[in-house]
Symmetry: C2
Subunit: 316 residues, 2 copies
């Protein structure tokens, strides 16, 4: 081009170009464009209504700090209330959990948002490190189970209407890609921007970044000067899907908007068709006989894991 591009709205030099819309924007207008997009996602999928209370899961990483910031910004105009929760999972490597709690606390304080810290060790009697030591299962899978359970448990106890997580458009596209290849239909249909409560009294689960690209979330976090954790989880090197990420990034680079097209096509066409074809073959959900949270069997997966770990640790 030769010439520097200028912001579509104020004609100052652009700092970012939203490729799928060929939209050059300055910092300030990018921030408001990004937040409008999150607002549109929240409205499109009816994630939050006026007067509701949302609990945001904050790990201290880029995505969750950006989510907390975006939801706090939208909370006034949209009329909902925001609190933050951070799980202290008990990951000692690189002082990961300690840094995670500190980073999240600092961010919540700066925004004037209530911050709840829940220690998995105190609440359930074992840490993630202990579970990893005694259960032969990938750490990321154990961590996912524990986090999903604990966040729902806390949000229920405190009476929140919704629990928000920082899952991004990239996360969703990667999950769909993997499910299409390995064809786990039941897993596939569970991937939605909003999961309604499975039992009364539970929060709905919402993903306000369902239509936001990671590269835009990063720009948003950087432009706002958010002080997020740079280092990832010490267990994360066991995650094997980096080449899925690289492939989808190449698709997006060649066809800007492709990730969004993929996810919208899934939500509009493929999921409804699969859901209709499954009919009532979907597993019934009932309260776990130990804890009361949703379960497909007599005892839920978390209570079974907990019992196993506590027994192995000689605590039960």
């Amino acid at each position: 081009m030769g010439r520097a591009r200028r912001c579509r709205f104020c004609h100052r030099p652009a700092e970012v170009v939203v490729r799928q819309a060929n939209l050059p924007l300055c910092r300030e207008h990018f921030i408001s464009w990004f937040e409008r997009r999150v607002e549109r996602t929240i409205r499109r999928y009816r994630m939050l209504g006026p007067g509701e209370r949302v609990l945001v899961a904050v790990s201290g990483g880029k995505d969750s700090l950006a989510l907390l910031h975006a939801l706090k910004s939208l909370s006034g105009p949209m009329g909902f209330e925001v609190s933050a929760v951070t799980l202290d999972l008990g990951i000692e490597g690189n002082s990961y959990s300690k840094l995670s709690v500190e980073t999240a606390s600092r961010a919540a304080k700066a925004l004037g948002v209530e911050h709840i810290v829940v220690s998995i060790g105190d609440r359930y009697g074992f840490t993630l490190d202990e579970a990893v030591r005694v259960v032969r299962r990938p750490p990321c899978s154990l961590c996912g189970l524990i986090k999903r359970y604990a966040l729902t448990d806390v949000a229920r106890e405190l009476g929140f209407d919704a629990l928000a997580t920082g899952h991004t458009l990239d996360d969703v596209a990667r999950f769909l890609l993997s499910s299409y290849i390995f064809t786990s239909i039941r897993e596939l249909v569970r991937q939605t921007p909003v999961v309604p409560p499975k039992l009364p009294g539970l929060p709905r689960l919402i993903k306000p970044f369902y239509e936001s690209l990671e590269e835009h979330i990063r720009a948003y976090a950087d432009f706002l000067g958010l002080n997020y954790m740079q280092d990832g989880c010490p267990y994360a090197r066991t995650a094997p899907t980096d080449y899925f990420r690289a492939f989808l990034d190449e698709v997006e680079a060649r066809s800007p908007g492709a990730k969004h097209t993929m996810v919208r096509g899934y939500i509009k066409h493929i999921r409804p068709a699969l859901l209709a074809s499954l009919g009532n073959k979907i597993e019934p959900i009932r309260p776990c006989s130990k804890c009361g949270l949703p379960s497909s069997g007599e005892v839920c997966a978390f209570c079974r894991l907990r019992e196993r770990v506590l027994r192995a640790l000689g605590k039960a």
Copy 2:
């Protein structure tokens, strides 16, 4: 491993290991394993029955020569008859079309199979090179349209029951991947191992390599010493999907059998669900008013292309 692996069936040194089955095989047992697999695909999808006549589209490349060879081998035991057809598309670059016809003729002669050569220029009045020159459309898209049309036209004229093409499991997986991302539902549901005739008197279209990996087709062709064309089409460098190929090859390398899982999952779960959801929103097909072959409109896409090219060339 240290030790060389041995053929599961005869204990001679293995020359290939079928990774998804962890099955080491010598040349001879690989060839029969490969042909049994093609036979299973033909039976599973009811591609060909006893007494039927199949026309095999042979370009002279690895896949189509291997297909001709495999179908000829299976024709005795399964009781069908095989002929070959090669289109002279009129691609002058690297003498591509000339070599294509010669290679196919030599292979058909060696197998004792009838070989039909159809010159697109003679039959329809224009070559692919001429079409590429006067129509602003990717060459591969023009070539696809012309080949599909001419092969169906010739098979109909000669009364064949089926027209077989060398589409591989890799081709199908790539097509699915692209359709899942860009979500063209109507394109997606059209991807099947067998396409029944859309109008009476037409051949069914079959893909006997629907469950065969390219790497196995290559080994089969090499073990048999098939003399296939090494150089690809001079237009092929315009095909932009090499990174799709690389990605799926990596998925297969890490999870042997993944391409087949993807294609079976599509056929068993995703396609039926999509088809049911489309209901009768599928476009009706009628005979083209000019040539009588299937068309979604008054005049078929080929006849419209032909008219346009002949007019531009001053031949109409």
